[in-house]
């Protein structure tokens, strides 16, 4: 049965590639990029192998932890992750949950990211090549680590899937679970860190805690073997195995829960007469689009999922900052947060799907649509960015650098809004259609959407450079007026880019609207 499902998955992949050459290009580029990353990682480990064991251990543990965290976060960030074997779609066939899990697991392994992960994980043996016993441990531990990565991503995909379909209590429960899964390792790390006598022990203490945490333990095994700490290696192995088991168990539970949520979908009632923002906005097309767009950010699970990250991401990054005491991590919080929501909607029309026909039929002008959507996004993102940036400045004790920090964040937010106003008038990526459409997942879609979002990110950064450059200069040199320059550049030039993007995007949409609908129809069918 697993073999059959695996064949199905590659059949679908082949068909998609045949239908669209762009997807093929994306897959090839994705393959080359993966190969490149694997090459760099293996090279890094070769260099690390020549270092003292402590350094090797640091490189492997941090790299491995980052890998696991990446697999945890990616399903939350990107839609269009491969859902060929979405359990919901297969629910009408008589399959055991365990068969389904085995099949999705194998599918997760047997594709570019999975292969790359396995190669890199097992490749940690290179870092320990001068210690034969440790190298063997690295191979076994690497397999365990790779399995944890795949399991973690499946767990998060399942959680994300439930977020898409669930409502009310189920959705909140799932969100809480997701946050928990993300936060537990870090919470353990921090509590441990407090015991470990604050910042004085610094990097070594943080690393030590990371090496005992569920996400890091598995990567620490060979290093412990190399230094002769066999008891430590045994405990770390136990933690690693327990982590994998817990991940698989949680995955199974969420899978069951998501299937139940689907089956027992209760009708949701909002009292009649409750119009939400639609009830108080001005009676113009722009305001209509604004109100609907704003409501969708909260009510459409695919977009609401991004909102979860708004508090989670700064918290995690602050934690990293406190662990490693690198100021740059704290400086990055604002810009990362500012780019999060715009980047999530770089192909925003995809979330509308064919419902976009309503706007097209009503003859809403492109610029009105763009302004409405941009305002909805800013209504959520702007206060969040400002509040988070204020809090961060206070927490890291750099209130004096607030102009620089705010300048760079606002500059990036506004620039990104401008850029996605144009990109989303042209780009359509396949996104989940609330689990309604059996067997139409577009394999390779993840690759396409990730590349497109890279491009959008690069353009945004280039356009925001007038704010980024003085801000960085001010933060590094401590010259105050450079910070103020960043603030003015961020607000002034950012607003210019946003405005230009909205106008240009409006023109583009006026021309491309019908073509966009046609493409949205293609994705739907």
């Amino acid at each position: 049965m697993v073999a059959l499902l695996l064949r199905l998955r590659f059949r679908i992949l082949a068909n998609t590639l045949r239908r669209s050459p762009m997807q093929l290009v994306a897959v090839v580029v994705g393959g080359l990029l993966s190969a490149g990353l694997v090459f760099v990682a293996l090279g890094g480990m070769l260099i690390a192998s020549a270092m003292p064991p402590v350094v090797t251990q640091a490189v492997v543990v941090i790299g491995g932890t980052a890998l696991v965290c990446g697999w945890l976060v990616v399903p939350l960030l990107f839609d269009g992750v491969d859902r060929t074997l979405d359990p919901i779609r297969l629910a009408r066939f008589p399959l055991r949950t365990s068969t389904l899990m085995a099949a999705t697991f194998v599918v997760g392994i047997a594709w570019l990211p999975g292969i790359a992960t396995i190669v890199v994980s097992v490749g940690t043996a290179i870092a320990w090549r001068t210690y034969p016993a440790a190298a063997v441990a690295a191979i076994l531990g690497g397999l365990l680590g790779a399995a944890t990565c795949i399991g973690a991503s499946r767990l998060m995909t399942s959680v994300a899937g439930s977020l898409l379909r669930g409502h009310g209590a189920a959705r909140i429960g799932m969100a809480a679970l997701g946050v928990l899964v993300l936060a537990v390792p870090f919470a353990i790390a921090t509590t441990g860190r407090v015991d470990a006598d604050g910042r004085s022990t610094g990097f070594a203490a943080a690393l030590d805690l990371l090496a005992w945490s569920p996400v890091g333990a598995v990567w620490s095994i060979p290093g412990r073997v190399a230094t002769g700490d066999l008891a430590g290696a045994a405990v770390a192995t136990a933690i690693a195995v327990a982590t994998l088991a817990a991940t698989l168990l949680l995955w199974r539970l969420t899978l069951g829960a998501s299937l139940r949520v689907r089956a027992e979908r209760p009708p949701r009632a909002i009292a009649a007469g409750r119009l939400g923002p639609l009830g108080w906005v001005p009676t113009t097309p722009t305001a209509a689009v604004f109100a609907r767009s704003l409501m969708y950010w909260f009510r459409d699970g695919r977009q609401a999922r991004q909102l979860i990250l708004l508090p989670v991401l700064p918290a995690l990054m602050l934690l990293w900052w406190s662990l490693f005491d690198v100021a740059a991590i704290a400086w990055l919080i604002g810009p990362v947060l500012a780019s999060l929501l715009p980047l999530a909607s770089f192909a925003g029309l995809s979330y509308d799907g064919t419902a976009f026909a309503a706007e097209l039929a009503a003859g809403v002008r492109g610029v009105h649509d763009r302004v409405g959507r941009a305002l909805a996004l800013l209504t959520i993102a702007a206060p969040t960015v400002v509040v988070v940036q204020l809090s961060v400045a206070i927490v890291i004790g750099r209130v004096g650098d607030l102009p620089a920090l705010l300048g760079v964040s606002i500059g990036i937010l506004l620039s990104a809004v401008g850029v996605v106003s144009v990109s989303s008038a042209q780009l359509v990526v396949p996104v989940t259609r609330a689990g309604r459409n059996p067997f139409s997942a577009q394999a390779g879609a993840a690759t396409t959407s990730i590349f497109a979002s890279y491009a959008v990110a690069v353009v945004t950064i280039v356009l925001a450079l007038p704010a980024i450059a003085p801000a960085v200069a001010s933060l590094v040199t401590g010259i105050a007026w450079l910070g103020w320059l960043a603030l003015f550049a961020g607000i002034g030039l950012g607003a210019g880019v946003a405005l230009g993007g909205v106008v240009l995007g409006g023109r583009v949409l006026d021309a491309s609207g019908p073509a966009m609908l046609a493409r949205l129809r293609l994705i739907r069918s």
Binding site: R274, A288, R299, A361, A362, P514, R524
Partner: protein, 251 residues
């Protein structure tokens, strides 16, 4: 007199095959015009092009003399469109969805409130007003989409399969609404698979196959002496005699 809806030489190719092939049709003002045709005849494609949702490869579409593709922002407010095969913003409640449509046309609050209430009542959706459209049945979804198409009081209604999965009571109510709309000077174009319904409801009809109009005119002109279905089968052909596959009922 200019026609309510007129398309000339409308053509759309998907890949090599023409879905709509130089389709020409004129819908007189104040008529209730039916479009019938087999599956894949190009009805939906043609209506999408006539309402500004799909750009034609060739041909023109005029609504009350306004070119839909040259002057879309003037033409579209004249049209009330119920498209087939598109989703709705279904995370809104029914009431919110119609309100959203009204706002896009810039209706003021008082008008909006009155019309939303009227439409919900006329389409028996009052009880479902506060529920998410995602949770509506297929028939209710059709009705709320129809309401969204009516809210701005268009001059031409273009309805693609408006009666699909709608219950008989609601279908009768919808027909009353459409009759009233036509009496008030509006024009309705409906596509349907149901010959019966078109024959009873419409005063004009066009039979479409392979992206072309085979015959069009008043109901009487088209059906001649027989009924519409007989004439349709005669023109289209493709009836298969005999039974279904042998295994279908072999218990």
């Amino acid at each position: 007199m200019e026609h309510a809806l007129e398309v000339r030489g409308l053509t759309k190719r998907f890949g090599g095959a023409a879905a709509v092939d130089e389709l020409t049709l004129a819908v007189p003002r104040g008529s209730l015009y039916g479009l019938v045709g087999p599956n894949g005849a190009g009805k939906t494609t043609a209506l999408a092009m006539a309402t500004g949702l799909l750009r034609p490869d060739a041909g023109v579409a005029l609504v009350h003399g306004v070119d839909v593709w040259q002057r879309p922002f003037e033409a579209k407010p004249l049209i009330g469109s119920l498209a087939d095969g598109v989703d709705l913003y279904d995370r809104l409640t029914g009431e919110q969805l119609i309100t959203f449509s009204g706002l896009m046309f810039g209706l003021d609050r008082a008008t909006l409130r009155e019309r939303v209430a009227d439409l919900l009542r006329l389409l028996d959706l009052e009880d479902a007003a506060g529920r998410l459209v995602a949770d509506y049945s297929a028939g209710m979804t059709k009705k709320i989409a129809l309401a969204a198409a009516l809210i701005h009081s268009p001059r031409v209604l273009v309805l693609d399969e408006p009666f699909e999965s709608v219950d008989p009571v609601s279908a009768a109510n919808i027909r009353d609404i459409l009759d009233g709309f036509v009496k008030g000077g509006g024009t309705v174009v409906v596509s349907s698979h149901s010959m019966d319904l078109v024959e009873r409801m419409c005063d004009h009809v066009a039979i479409i196959a392979s992206g072309r109009v085979l015959v069009s005119g008043t109901i009487d002109e088209v059906r001649r002496s027989g009924d519409l279905e007989t004439r349709f089968l005669e023109l289209i052909g493709g009836r298969r005699r005999g039974e279904g596959p042998a295994w279908l009922l072999s218990s």
